[in-house]
């Protein structure tokens, strides 16, 4: 393998991993705070992507909007969607016994995933099944190395979001409360944290992050009603591999899987999609609580 090729493969992997980590962050935050595995996470990604597409499509003939701006418009809406979703579907579960809560959460979020997918499928009847926006900025070329501008922008945004999230978690009251709840739910409750509110906020942020990732998908590739569950599963791999509730673990998990897919994609594309699941199972067998789990 030539050096430039190696560099290109690594760049591809890291850029890919960054976007993986973004969506997985949301999922990790939700699990950390509420103890719920949100099987509908990928559906929010899909719907977020669709929202960006629909806005783009509707505005296309009026005036041409950069889809990244639309992503920024859509994200706060999905924060609200997340709040409502949590309020309606997740909050009633939090008081249940652990194994009952796990099972109920599987039921509720899986059911929600089916509803969202099927409604999206049904709504696609009048229009097209796959949705993608036509947006392209020429790539940066350094020697033989190509840097896709779209992906660079995305990666930059991911970094900004992650830093913002970090600052939020470290330096704001709500952020500290989120961390407190993640570490010890009962303890946080005892010191007066309003866990109900924190749950809702975590869900809002998580959902907004999923929608942003969906916007990226629609710019970079496409979304369709049936992509939700497989994506959820891949993000779950990242979250669990890193260690439930560990943000560093998620970032690292995302990049590891991105790199793995990138390298295998170069040599043996047939195995590239296996990486996430193989790593998940392997890591758990060696470290039952993930790379950074406590």
């Amino acid at each position: 393998m030539e050096f430039t090729t190696l560099v290109q493969v690594i760049i591809n992997g890291v850029l890919l991993g960054g976007v993986y980590a973004l969506a997985a962050f949301g999922l990790s935050l939700i699990f950390g705070v509420s103890g719920v595995l949100n099987l509908a996470h990928g559906e929010f990604l899909m719907v977020g992507g669709m929202a960006v597409f629909l806005l783009f499509d509707a505005l296309q003939n009026v005036w041409y909007v950069n889809p990244f701006i639309l992503v920024a418009v859509v994200a706060p809406l999905f924060f609200l969607v997340g709040l409502v979703f949590e309020k309606a579907l997740i909050q009633p579960l939090t008081q249940r016994k652990e194994h009952v809560r796990l099972a109920s959460a599987v039921l509720v979020t899986l059911g929600a995933a089916l509803v969202i997918e099927d409604v999206a499928d049904f709504a696609s009847r009048g229009s097209q099944y796959e949705k993608s926006v036509d947006f392209f900025i020429p790539s940066l070329v350094i020697g033989e190395i190509y840097l896709e501008t779209n992906k660079l922008v995305m990666f930059g945004l991911v970094l900004i979001l992650i830093v913002a999230l970090f600052i939020f978690l470290r330096f704001t009251y709500v952020g500290l409360a989120v961390q407190a709840v993640t570490q010890n739910r009962r303890g946080a409750l005892l010191v007066g944290v309003n866990t109900t509110r924190i749950n809702a906020i975590a869900f809002g942020i998580g959902t907004a992050l999923a929608a942003v990732a969906g916007g990226f998908e629609v710019i970079n590739s496409m979304v369709a009603p049936n992509i939700g569950l497989p994506l959820t599963l891949k993000y779950l791999c990242i979250v669990v591999m890193g260690g439930l509730g560990s943000f560093l673990g998620v970032a690292l998990g995302g990049v590891i899987i991105g790199l793995g897919e990138s390298f295998l994609g170069f040599f043996y594309p047939a195995w590239s999609q296996t990486v996430a699941y193989l790593l998940l199972v392997t890591v758990l067998l060696i470290r039952p609580k993930g790379l950074f789990g406590k």
Partner: protein, 332 residues
């Protein structure tokens, strides 16, 4: 006691006699019943680990898939039907044995997720082992009309899994499994050999989907990974078990009958109805909303998760009815 056995016996008797009735729609109904039996077996066998022991095994479908593929491979190797069927179930049990120790080091959500990841992992492994499994070209077996034998065989598997589950529920093993569900640490403190029990439970619960997988291949005659590893196939039986009442013998059956029934009776029919109404000046064909069945199914699952964590069978009126019929087996 007599009363408790009467109802199931009558049902099984009627089912046994059904194929003897001369009617045009017989095979169509048999195929629906096969779908029902398939789901009962998957839901009931899932519930041995998921309901009685409290380990939400999101990867239960892997046993079915392995059974399906192994059966096809053995049959194509001229092992004969019976041996292939046993071989398929055997392969599934062996696989369960292989994964049981490492997977049972994981608890709670970690276990569920690793098992869920296993579905996709095994799917890709199956696709990429083309020499054995046919890869994405699928696995094909000798064609033939098997609706009636399949019906009897799958009914037999249903009866077997229900009896097995019932026996476990009454046995010492079942009690140990329930203590693990309630509090694994305490169970261990009181001498329950936790790992051994968990492995036993998983082996038992992997046998029946293995058998059913073989029957599925025999029936469909041409399978690929989408059909046996698909995420919806993986999750529906689990939803059925929880819907009906996880941990109760009758629960998965109720869940499967309900979901398969709703699908067949309402949506297939409603989709044929053209009930046009004028709404805000648009002509709307209500029948086309039958295509939203996936959403309605999802909605039912959500509502059960929210309001009936114990499933239909534990709703007080249903519980009373079932108790009166002697169908409510103890799960305390």
């Amino acid at each position: 006691m007599n009363k408790a056995f009467l109802f199931p016996l009558v049902v099984v008797g009627l089912l046994l006699a059904f194929p003897l009735i001369e009617m045009d729609a017989r095979d169509y109904i048999l195929l629906i019943l096969f779908t029902l039996f398939l789901n009962i077996v998957l839901a009931q066998s899932y519930d041995i680990v998921g309901g009685q022991m409290g380990y939400v095994n999101l990867g239960h479908i892997v046993f079915f898939a392995i059974g399906a593929y192994a059966f096809g491979i053995f049959l194509n190797a001229q092992l004969g039907f019976v041996l292939s069927l046993i071989g398929g179930a055997g392969a599934s049990v062996v696989f369960a044995a292989l994964i049981s120790y490492p997977f049972f080091r994981l608890r709670g959500a970690y276990f569920s997720l690793a098992a869920f990841g296993l579905v996709k992992l095994m799917e890709y492994v199956t696709i990429n082992m083309g020499a054995l499994t046919g890869g994405s070209n699928g696995l094909k077996i000798e064609a033939g009309d098997r609706v009636v034998p399949i019906f009897y065989l799958s009914l037999a598997v249903v009866v077997a899994v229900v009896i097995c589950s019932w026996l476990i529920g009454r046995s010492q093993l079942g009690l140990a499994m329930k203590t693990i569900r309630e509090d694994e640490e305490v169970a261990r403190d009181f001498g329950v050999p936790v790992l051994k029990i968990k492995v036993q439970a998983l082996l038992i619960s992997s046998f029946f989907p293995g058998l059913m997988g073989g029957l599925y291949t025999w029936q469909l005659q041409f399978i690929d990974t989408d059909q046996v590893f698909g995420l919806k196939i993986a999750l529906t039986p689990i939803a059925m078990a929880m819907l009906g009442g996880s941990g109760l013998l009758i629960g998965p059956i109720i869940g499967a009958v309900f979901l398969v029934g709703v699908e067949e009776l309402i949506w297939t029919q409603l989709a044929q109805v053209h009930w046009t109404v004028t709404l805000l000046g648009y002509e709307v064909d209500i029948g086309q909303f039958a295509h939203l069945r996936g959403a309605i199914l999802g909605l039912i699952i959500v509502l059960v998760g929210l309001f009936m964590p114990g499933g239909f069978a534990r709703l007080p009126p249903v519980e009373r009815m079932l108790t009166r019929a002697g169908l409510m087996t103890e799960d305390k």
